[in-house]
Symmetry: C2
Subunit: 156 residues, 2 copies
């Protein structure tokens, strides 16, 4: 019986197929790392973890595939201001979609997703208005709050 995790990975593999991309070992390993991890990793960190599973992996391959995965929507990337792009597995479902609280000082990231229902309604309405007004096809959004986390707030 497939767990939730394996079925999410299976969906990812299927999507790769739909885009005529080969299902290679590096791609599986990278997706696997992103799927398992709870934090937002940069390319170097993903490379390090993936290398433990697949030691001959190259860093360039990690970059190439992250770019691909972002392009076909399986992975999202974002920037917290430390010049290293961070990546997370795409969360399309109602339950798992979330936004970020980013600490300006230590660059840590907190996800939040609870009580997000009115946020969703609000955004849907907003996107509809903006699309019409600017003739712009909105595919995604990014809501980040910047400030000081509980630790850094007290040492500031």
């Amino acid at each position: 019986m497939p767990t939730e995790t394996t079925s999410r990975l299976n969906l990812s593999y299927e999507r790769l197929n739909n885009y005529c991309c080969r299902l290679t070992r590096p791609r599986q390993v990278i997706l696997d790392v992103l799927d398992k991890v709870d934090r937002h990793l940069n390319a170097e960190q993903i490379y390090k973890r993936a290398s433990e599973i697949y030691p001959t992996l190259g860093l360039a391959t990690v970059y190439r595939n992250l770019e691909l995965l972002v392009r076909i929507g399986l992975v999202w990337k974002f920037d917290v201001g430390d010049d290293k792009t961070r990546y997370e597995i795409a969360q399309w479902s109602r339950e798992t979609h979330h936004h970020h609280l980013i600490c300006k000082k230590c660059n840590s990231v907190i996800d939040y997703s609870e009580s997000i229902d009115n946020e969703r309604d609000f955004l849907r309405e907003r996107e509809k208005n903006l699309s019409r007004k600017y003739n712009f096809k909105i595919e995604n959004h990014c809501i980040d709050f910047f400030g000081l986390c509980s630790k850094c707030k007290n040492t500031d």
Copy 2:
């Protein structure tokens, strides 16, 4: 009689003073460029424009001062995904604060700010909740919508 623009610049100069930063020619010129321009420029573009006014300006000086201006809140920076940080003069007032529509294909940026009142109310409430829940001091937020602009939508 001071125009709106000159008074905004004067406020900026005052703020530099408050932070014990000298009011140097490069800083004036950079602020002046950012104040006048309607688009979101990257460091290179700011350097190019500022050099026309102050030809001996160095690129490193532009980077250093943009960092300073961001730190003291006179300038905001953000990223559209082309690996070049963009900068805009900080818009703190109710009338001028805005968010972005970013085209994934041509990296163009549209500001929107109209009918933003309910957005502001929504965000204020949200920030209050998040601050309490995560003991996080929210200082700023970033709302960007990504997608395809009217031009790119049709050539896709």
